[in-house]
Symmetry: C2
Subunit: 334 residues, 2 copies
Amino acid sequence: MKLRDLATPALVVDVATLEHNLAAMARALPGPRLRPHVKATKCTALARRQAALGHRGFCCATVREMEGMAAAGLGEDLLLANETLDARRLGRLDARITVAVDSPETIEAAAAGGLREVLVDVNVGLPRCGCPPEQAGRLADLARRRGLTVRGVMGYEGHAMAIEERAKRKAAVELAMTKLAVAHAQVGGEVISAGGTGSYDLNVLATEIQAGSYSLMDTAYAKLGLPFRPAFAVWSTVVSAGPAWAVCDAGLKSLGMDHGNPAIDGAKVWFCSDEHVTFSGDPEAPGGPLRPKVGDRLRVWPAHVDPTVAYHEALHLVDGEDVVERWTVDLRGW
Amino acid sequence: MKLRDLATPALVVDVATLEHNLAAMARALPGPRLRPHVKATKCTALARRQAALGHRGFCCATVREMEGMAAAGLGEDLLLANETLDARRLGRLDARITVAVDSPETIEAAAAGGLREVLVDVNVGLPRCGCPPEQAGRLADLARRRGLTVRGVMGYEGHAMAIEERAKRKAAVELAMTKLAVAHAQVGGEVISAGGTGSYDLNVLATEIQAGSYSLMDTAYAKLGLPFRPAFAVWSTVVSAGPAWAVCDAGLKSLGMDHGNPAIDGAKVWFCSDEHVTFSGDPEAPGGPLRPKVGDRLRVWPAHVDPTVAYHEALHLVDGEDVVERWTVDLRGW
């Protein structure tokens, strides 16, 4: 199929850029040094590419992602990097399963659900899941008494991930990891799982980095000066155009909006509606302003990869003007 | 199934509240006075309830919604209230199809796609689709020369929809409708299609109102003092809780975020991540602060119904503690 024949809006992925990103990360963090995070891409076909490059352990954010990865034969070492009370669904899977715990209740759920291995999730500065560092040892003891193997600790420095200035980002990562080191000293175990695309080469404590966005990238991560390039966009058609603005058929339902508006080359984005982006040519754009006409196709660059992918049924792999493959986003839902 | 056994996050709809909303609207705008907008709910099961109450014409925002409605036997009078260049897909449907046009290109696409009926879409103040009012007559002439029947005009006063003060909202609707009246005088035809949940009883020009959100409602529309009540929420489990904050398993992937954070009764919402809402009990809440414990279930009230529904596979209809029905959100995607 030709790109021009693809119904819009549709997610398109540039094959060469994707391969560049996957290879760059595999060089930086070979094999088990990277535990790719499935939540960013929700696609077993993409995970299979990562496994082929040597990363055979994965992490997930939802039980459904874990189920899908196990069903796809990618269950050599699956980590639910999140808390769940619904561990019975995990206990049924034919895969090596580890789950994050941060409370007596999640430990009890893991044990009652038939799981064997856990990581103690530690809060390292982002007000979300994870126990305070000083409670990690007590939770590890509780988990062991409940018959669980504690593989180590996990702590996501999400609050540091988007700091644009590298030195400041590095300092924030280091501070977060001092907390995780304190917890690890109490907990023990071989695994210190942390990090993400924004800290993949800054986090020196973690034994494995939980990066996912690096493969597709987005406009937020593109500001960090990383060696990964924007590989995906929402392919869209201009459906209305006047002298002052134009409208294309992407919108809130096809774009993750929490990091702000998407970008269009040569244009200023005004706002997004359910199924529309209103924009105008930008006279100050380096290549001159876009002059959109009804029927033109263009790439809309998402600001946040994770929710954007989750809103779509498929990734369309593109090589120049050809759509060469269609990968189902098969790990959506819960 | 019991509500407590439902895997989270999941969309739940209170049956009695839904029925209240549907009945209240059917009284206010009986039969063809309402053309329910499918984009808000993306569910043929819900559309069937609206049809049973007498609203047998529907409008859609995407070609996929049109296809799904036609396939479900709900194609008596389907309006694509949006521009498309992909009209061939519509021309294949076994249904009465009308499409909005606002340019020579969209008129040509409709004619070439085998469609017979159009509305001229008019910009009435929201910078999105629609031609300037003074060009509507010329476009209608062009459409007729191309062999299309022009049923009338359409103009969505979206910029007026969320004005909280009723008198100001009414004034904004009236101003918008003066523009649509100018266009209609040039275009002719029986149909003046406009309006939405926020203007359903303020728009006196429209022959039919395109409301969709009224059936489920959201926290944004709840501010307008309408007779429709919040009928749906994301059912969620508290997965982590400490002294300062707690975390439940809803997030950016299960909530439309463009109208801001969702609400939780008795709590202040701090922020949302991909799969998490961080919140804390609100000491000033009327019923006292929520005191969340790990394992608690709660309702997260979405700020915007349309994208929220689009991110889910199903609506779970709930009567008290029972899940009485599961409706697939079968009109997702494009």
